[in-house]
Amino acid sequence: MSMKSIRLSPQTLHVLDRFAMEPAAWRYGYELSRETGLKSGTLYPILMRLAKHHLLETRWVPTEEGVPPRHTYRLTPKGLDMVRSEQVAARKPLATRKPATVGGRA
């Protein structure tokens, strides 16, 4: 499927934008939530979907004793390729694009 035909919601674009800023860095869910302003109920379905399609990789990070481990995320090479293709196609920052369902196909 051509990347141009991919329908992206503004929230997903925003999350991808944050990942693309530091592609090698592992990010925490709460950190992403604060940076994007997305609530957990919105952020996690996006992360789940990206991971399901192998665009994100995940890992568990142990923490201090008595505190549950944390889940961290970063783009896979496939995910990074897709984000870059999207950025080139749009020729503008992902975060400023309108959602397909509101302003037509992105």
Binding site: I6, G37, T63, P68
Partner: protein, 562 residues
């Protein structure tokens, strides 16, 4: 993380969500739980936890409705789309259910049952009762029969119309076209006794059907309606009632009416049984018959007592026998045994006393026996009547249960159809296309659609199955004239006319008198709560939509699912 009550509550909610979630989503629940310990602020923790629990609950719902989807591998192509193309198995299942439900409408019995089930909403929707008065189905039939000058059709409509003037006009026209239908005046005249045409009709009926008490009872009702039941009786009323009491028989022309019903229903293919067999609201006997008979019986007994006091025992016996004759005559139409024939033991006792006075021992003993038998019968009748009502109206009656199932099925059908319509509109608006390949819907929408289609099919089945026996009764009546089970059908139709739940009756003891017999839920209460619920739901939806828009404006990037 500070170990406050709110933190513990937030962790509890999230753990509950994790337990609820399908296995493939539990890691994500743990991921959200892991973050909980690093969030600052009590309310932020709660919001995080609630949001996370919502995501997990949604995953659980999807797994429940679409188990295949939750197990399937990542779809090829379009991985980031917020919506997916309509899930094929769901689409096939939903489509099959919808098609099967639509197929039900091809069955005439089902269409008939559906029409009957819709009658429950008439009183709820038309609160002003104008529809009840207008009777659009009958008016339409009236236009049809008048166009072709069908006298029987006019008579059929006349005995059912609630509009008195129109009913009387049609009855007059029907008899003008077909003089043999003159008996219809006895039916319509009893319903609208104050109509100006009635005195002339009664005179003609007296000549046409000599010995029938009906024309006299119509005249008595006319007087009652003019003066009121509590007014002192006028000579005209007394004369009319004397005529009724001295008549040989009472014929309400039920046989002729049934034959007419069958003829017209077959001629015009009337499939709605309530149009044909339900005449509970338009009885063929004048509605004041019982009250008038009781009142005149009391007056006659008093006259007999006066004669007896004057030593005229023969005159008294004549009066008492007159009462006994008339009560027997009316009794066959009497659905309330304790009412008119409640005076019979008293009448027989007086007859026994009068014959004793005349020295006729055997006759006196005969009436003593009759008085005892009548008293016994009355008591048994009372018990039976009460038991019948309790069985018909109580929770053990088959007919009210069937009526309730049919009404609930109808409500479920309408709700399912409404859901499907809303869903269709949303899908079309979202997909911006009518092409099936381009139709898109989320998993929740797919689930709701599936629920609507399955609901429509299941409710169609649950409407069809309990209604079928009643359709058979109606068909038998039309085909063979079998009226043996019409009473059951009438009861069923009466129950289905009342809104859901109002068909269950109970005796409620009152502190100062006998038990009050009435429905658990009255029709007025149902109508009130129905519209209250509609208003609350409507306002709630409006507020939710307004809130959603405001939230979207305030946080254009947040709060809306990807």
């Amino acid at each position: 993380m500070a170990d406050t009550l709110l933190h513990r509550l937030a962790a509890f909610v999230l753990r509950a969500g994790i337990r609820l979630a399908p296995s493939d989503a539990r890691d994500w629940g743990n991921a959200m739980l892991g973050e909980l310990h690093h969030i600052e602020g009590n309310w932020a923790v709660v919001a995080w936890s609630l949001g996370g629990a919502g995501v997990l609950a949604k995953q659980a719902l999807i797994a429940l409705l679409l188990p295949a989807r939750s197990r399937q591998a990542a779809p090829v192509g379009n991985p980031l789309a917020g919506e997916v193309k309509m899930h094929k198995p769901s689409l096939i299942t939903g489509g099959a259910c919808l098609a099967a439900a639509i197929l039900f409408f091809l069955a005439p019995v089902f269409r008939q049952g559906f029409r009957v089930s819709l009658a429950q909403w008439q009183g709820v929707i038309h609160v002003d009762q104008s529809q009840w008065y207008r009777q659009p189905e009958l008016q339409s039939l009236a236009r049809r029969v008048e166009k072709i000058h069908d006298a029987e059709g006019m008579a059929f409509v006349a005995v059912r119309l609630h509009d008195g003037a129109e009913s009387v006009r049609l009855a007059g026209e029907a008899v003008r076209l077909e003089p043999k239908l003159i008996w219809i005046w006895g039916v319509v005249g009893g319903r609208f006794a104050r109509a100006p045409e009635v005195p002339a009709w009664v005179q003609k009926l007296k000549q046409w059907d000599q010995g029938n008490a009906l024309p006299y009872l119509i005249l008595a009702q006319r007087e009652d309606m003019t003066l009121g039941l509590n007014a002192a009786p006028l000579a005209a009323w007394t004369e009319a009632m004397a005529g009724a009491f001295n008549s040989k028989r009472l014929d309400d022309y039920a046989q002729q009416l049934q034959a007419l019903d069958r003829t017209v229903a077959q001629r015009y293919g009337l499939s709605a049984p309530y149009l044909v067999v339900e005449r509970g609201i338009a009885p063929s006997l004048p509605s004041y018959v019982l009250a008038d008979s009781f009142r005149y019986a009391k007056l006659t007994i008093a006259a007999g007592d006066a004669l007896e006091a004057d030593g005229n025992a023969k005159g008294a016996i004549e009066k008492y026998l007159n009462v006994a004759h008339c009560v027997h005559m009316v009794d066959s139409y009497n659905n309330f045994p304790p009412f008119v024939n409640g005076i019979m033991p008293d009448v027989y006792t007086r007859l026994a006393a009068a014959y004793k006075e005349l020295g006729d021992g055997p006759q006196s003993a005969y009436f003593v026996d009759l008085a005892a038998t009548a008293q016994n019968e009355l008591e048994q009748h009372h018990v039976q009547w009460r038991s019948e009502i309790e069985n018909q109206g109580g929770i053990f009656g088959v007919t009210p249960w069937n009526a309730l199932v049919v009404e609930l099925s109808d409500a479920a059908m309408l709700t399912s159809a409404f859901l499907l319509l809303i869903l269709l509109k949303l899908i079309l608006a979202r997909s911006r296309s009518f092409k099936p390949r381009k139709l898109r819907m989320g998993p929740v929408a797919t689930g709701v659609g599936l629920l609507g289609a399955v609901g429509l099919l299941v409710s169609s089945v649950t409407l069809y199955v309990p209604y079928r026996p009643y359709a058979a009764i109606y068909t038998r009546f039309l085909d063979t004239g079998d009226t043996s089970q019409l009473k059951i059908l009438r009861e069923f139709l009466e129950f289905t006319r009342s809104p859901i739940g109002t068909q269950f009756y109970r005796f409620t003891p009152t502190p100062h008198g006998p038990a009050f017999f009435g429905p658990y839920i009255t029709e007025h209460a149902f109508t009130f709560y129905f519209w209250l619920a509609v208003t609350v739901l409507g306002l709630g939806s409006l507020l939710a939509i307004a809130g959603w828009h405001l939230l979207k404006r305030a946080h254009p990037r947040g709060g809306v699912e990807a």
